[in-house]
Symmetry: C2
Subunit: 294 residues, 2 copies
């Protein structure tokens, strides 16, 4: 990564953090503990990978990254809501995330459910109230809703739960990965493209790259679960295997999984290359997505 790209991404990261804090400010809170729980879900760490991909995609499409800030915040709120609900006792039943108590562990299960619900709502409010113009806002609401709903993240999470008996084949695992995590990651590219108002050919490149990277991301995640120690991951390693989760290494083998992640990521990189220097930050972030060790 060149120092220029690194600086640019660093500046974006600060903008994202500031905007998340502002978006989660209390205002005229009806139930302050709900707001505390929502903030706890969002501001206690996280790599901000998705918001940065939104800003970098907007930049790659020739737009001003700042125009994509509402979308960047919205996608992080949806990601946060999904983690809060995934951690609930009826789902993954996790009491720790990134070394902090999970929302329901700290605030109780009822506030955990409600904080997740309200984070999702706030994502759509943020897009509608703050996107630069109505046509872009509507497009972004639809992109985010499709990616995170019954045919995207929520659908994939449901399929994942229904397939935790170790019976899934590779086609099913691909379906789970593309929907459960891939769709929201791909949506980051689409949200950025929408904010940039780029031409159709550029948008199409960004869509394709996002789709490939989304799947590569989750396969890489499966590989990390098997190959990294718990201390490195900040969560229990090998949990996928121990719970018979439908993962790429489980059905295709670890070596094939590693190769597939690299192949898909390379495909994303070469799709982005014709966009030239404007795509440098996006390429750097995309490389980070599949080279991270936690």
């Amino acid at each position: 990564m060149t120092p220029e790209t690194e600086n640019r991404i660093g500046g974006w990261r600060r903008l994202v953090e500031e905007d998340l804090v502002e978006t989660l400010e209390d205002g005229a809170a009806i139930a302050p503990p709900l707001h505390d729980a929502m903030r706890h879900a969002v501001v206690s760490g996280g790599k901000r990978m998705r918001p940065l991909l939104v800003l970098a995609s907007c930049h790659a499409g020739g737009g001003l990254a700042e125009n994509a800030i509402p979308a960047a915040t919205a996608v992080e709120l949806v990601h946060a809501y999904s983690l809060v609900h995934d951690d609930l006792p009826a789902m993954d039943d996790d009491v720790l995330r990134r070394g902090f108590p999970t929302v329901h562990a700290k605030y109780g299960e009822a506030l955990g459910i409600l904080a997740g619900d309200a984070l999702q709502t706030l994502a759509f409010e943020t897009l509608a109230a703050r996107a630069p113009d109505p046509a872009v806002a509507v497009e972004q609401v639809e992109i985010l809703a499709v990616a995170s709903g019954r045919l995207g993240m929520a659908g994939g999470q449901a399929l994942d739960i229904l397939c935790d008996d170790g019976s899934a084949d590779l086609r099913t695992v691909e379906k789970i990965h593309r929907s459960k995590t891939g769709a929201l990651l791909a949506a980051c590219f689409r949200l950025g493209a929408a904010a940039s108002r780029c031409d159709v050919a550029t948008a199409s490149r960004l869509f394709d790259a996002g789709r490939s990277l989304g799947l590569a991301f989750q396969i890489h995640d499966d590989v990390l679960d098997l190959t990294q120690p718990s201390e490195q991951l900040g969560k229990t390693a090998g949990k996928d295997r121990d719970t018979s989760k439908a993962t790429w290494p489980a059905v295709a083998g670890l070596d094939v999984a590693k190769r597939d992640a690299i192949r898909l990521a390379d495909s994303a990189f070469s799709t982005l290359e014709p966009l030239g220097r404007a795509a440098d930050p996006l390429l750097a972030l995309a490389r980070g997505v599949v080279s991270r060790t936690k």
Copy 2:
């Protein structure tokens, strides 16, 4: 109610039911049981009071009621999601609703959480993908998000949970009622007004009437809980009192509660009257909201 008004509302009711069924069709379902759970939450009964208020408000504003169908469907999806999550073991822990098993009782708690989540997402997708034009869609997304989020329904539900020790005063009960149920009911009037593109004075009448009726609705609901037998309500009567819930009769007395509901409803009716015959269906529905016996 005149036969003309009755016919009109009957026609709208059929449109709403049809649109809900279509909106919840499978398409390329990733996880069919999730779709089943979502349908179970929406299509097993319900008075469709909120969608009908949306259509009638659009009509009262001089618009074509059909233009408000996406908003009518969206508000019912949000209402349904809130019931699914309210019924969860960590919240009200109900296994029956309208004589049917609740979603989590039938599909398990994990799918209950996810079905609620995906119903909320589908509400915003419906507005963005189907509202007649971008400016109206964006306005409606914001109205629905504000009414149902941390400063509306979810916030009110959180405050209600935090106040279930019988310590709430009337000001707090008003805050709970206005946010937990009143905000979404008032949003129906706003969503209809937005779809009708009526002038500011008419919109303002609709907003004010919705706000008064929203509070009247919940006070009336509190009164019904105390005065109607379980068989009539289709749920356990007297549950509010037995669980020390913050209700209007509990803090103001039953007689005052009855009077306040009538006073607020009358205020809504007289606010609507200057809108003339276009407001007839809305007035008929509004009267039904506070004269219902279940």
